[in-house]
């Protein structure tokens, strides 16, 4: 009996869905009308609660949140996935110590120049983990993380330079955006219609993690980009790198990066040659290059976002001009200028800045800067040289 009742209910529900009234639906089952009527009335009540469409912004926010969580998990997963040694930390550490003792030019040293896809690359990443484990203070840990993020940037530059095809990921600041072509911490990134982007808009100055593939054409094709959670240590595109070069003392640096359009690395290396500047990273830095764009107080110089709202400006501001900027990098990666000196009119639109950097920037030597820059800028004048 009850099965018959349930089947009759199902038939009536279907009829109601087709637009029939309760009475016409029940006419099929006169013997069950008394039992079915209240149930069908309840079904109409139940239907009134449904039908919420998903608002577009809800869907976008949810997706962004999900991808951000995925990025965090991927980052957390990266460590144990890299090698089984990580799960056996004591053994891994002991092994590494033995390696170091046995040979200072052993496996670890050999791996320092390895790139993603190389056989020794897992050793390099494991060694980085070991160093992180032994970081005794939070500052030291953050410093190492920053150093490793810089290392990722250099690796990608090298891959692009060599035209190798590898899956990579890195984090950095968006320093330029044109149609389909972004620059993230000096790395040119191609955005296609297949690139998965977060719901929130990404603008110049945003901190992002890029997942993608380097191609044989020397570009990084982005597969997905997510916003980086606040508080994650991210290297600023420029002046701070001078500390890294000091710390590592490695032989890399300018070689693989000289071809980058922003020229950020090359100029930072030039800055590293500054005489005895022992100030902290992000303080009292100097930036030289070409003004790529000017939007009010926010300019882009060699791919670096520069805020000039509080700066003393010497010379005539113009896009394409060669400038020397003094200032510091704030926590958001924006270069806060305290003084901007225009060296020449430039205007050729080229931002191949690597060659423009002066090779001696001793303190109080603006005149020398002027000479250097006017030599490479083509058509540079001496207006500003007199101001100081």
């Amino acid at each position: 009996m009850s099965e018959k009742l349930f089947d009759a209910l199902e038939t009536c529900l279907h009829a109601l869905e087709q637009g029939e009234t309760i009475d016409t639906a029940l006419a099929r089952f006169p013997a069950l009308t008394g039992e079915l009527r209240p149930i069908l009335e309840a079904s109409l009540h139940a239907r009134t609660l449904g039908g919420s469409a998903v608002p577009g912004d809800v869907q976008r926010r949810g997706r962004a949140r999900l991808l951000q969580n995925a990025a965090k998990m991927r980052e957390a997963k990266r460590v144990p996935r890299r090698t089984w040694l990580f799960n056996l930390r004591p053994l891994a550490v002991a092994l590494m110590l033995v390696i170091i003792f046995l040979s200072s030019t052993g496996l670890v040293n050999a791996s320092t120049t390895s790139l993603p896809g190389d056989n020794l690359y897992p050793v390099k990443r494991t060694w980085e983990d070991v160093r992180l484990i032994f970081a005794s203070t939070e500052d030291e840990r953050e410093g190492l993380e920053m150093e490793y993020e810089n290392e990722r940037l250099e690796e990608i530059s090298e891959l692009l330079f060599e035209g190798r095809v590898e899956s990579v990921s890195f984090s950095g600041y968006v320093t330029a955006q044109t149609d389909g072509q972004w620059v993230v911490s000096g790395i040119p990134v191609t955005i296609s219609s297949d690139t998965v982007l977060p719901g929130d808009p990404i603008t110049v100055g945003s901190v992002v993690t890029v997942f993608g593939v380097t191609t044989s054409d020397g570009i990084l094709q982005a597969q997905s980009i997510v916003m980086v959670p606040p508080g994650t240590p991210i290297p600023t595109p420029k002046p701070e790198e001078e500390d890294d070069t000091d710390n590592e003392g490695d032989e890399e640096g300018s070689g693989g990066n000289s071809g980058q359009e922003t020229g950020s690395d090359s100029s930072s290396n030039d800055n590293a040659n500054d005489s005895d500047d022992d100030s902290d990273s992000g303080k009292d830095s100097k930036l030289e290059g070409t003004v790529q764009s000017m939007d009010g107080n926010v300019w882009i110089i060699n791919g670096q976002t520069v805020n000039v709202s509080g700066a003393e400006i010497v010379g005539t501001p113009a896009p394409g001009a060669t400038v020397t900027v003094e200032g510091y990098v704030n926590a958001d990666g924006v270069f806060i200028a305290t003084k901007v000196i225009f060296v020449g009119g430039g205007g050729d639109g080229n931002s191949g800045s690597g060659d423009n950097s002066p090779d001696d920037n001793t303190d109080n030597d603006d005149d020398e800067n002027n000479e250097d820059n006017s030599g490479s800028g083509g058509g540079g004048d001496d207006d500003d040289g007199d101001d100081d």
Partner: protein, 182 residues
Amino acid sequence: MTVSLEQRELDGLRDLDPQVISAAYDRYFSDVYRYVCYRVGDETAAEDIASDVFVRLLEASQHGRGPQTNLKSWLLGTASHIVTDHMRRAYRRPTESLTENVLDPLAVPVDELERRERERSVRDAMKQLTPEQQNVLALRFGEGYSLEETAAVLNKKVNAVKALQFRALASLQRGVGEVAYE
């Protein structure tokens, strides 16, 4: 064919592949959101809970507790658990809806007021049902699933779903009557 596609999807989720994650999200988010919205009747809470379901999917996939075959069933099942927890918390700490307090009865048409009142009485009656009964009504009348689809999501036989649905509607009708008399 479908199985292998689903398997690839599950593998991609385990590997945290952003494209697979986005694709799964786009395919199932509206189902999950509608289901949650039906159960809790609050769009803000529904947004949070529906998002949480997908984050839990990633976490579970990482720990080997994710879906083995049917992703949609897993998502809706997880949504059901989170909704039940949410309702329990809401029951312990009841809050007044701000919008209802702010609404000026004179500024709202009578029809609209009556509709809202009716919807509230149905929702109050719905809260009296067991979670399983609420589930079956949400899937059948919120999502518009067939008996077979509902049975697959609830991991029950079709006949069991028919009986559950009948009891749920009977309880709802009684509840609506009681609420109307209060």
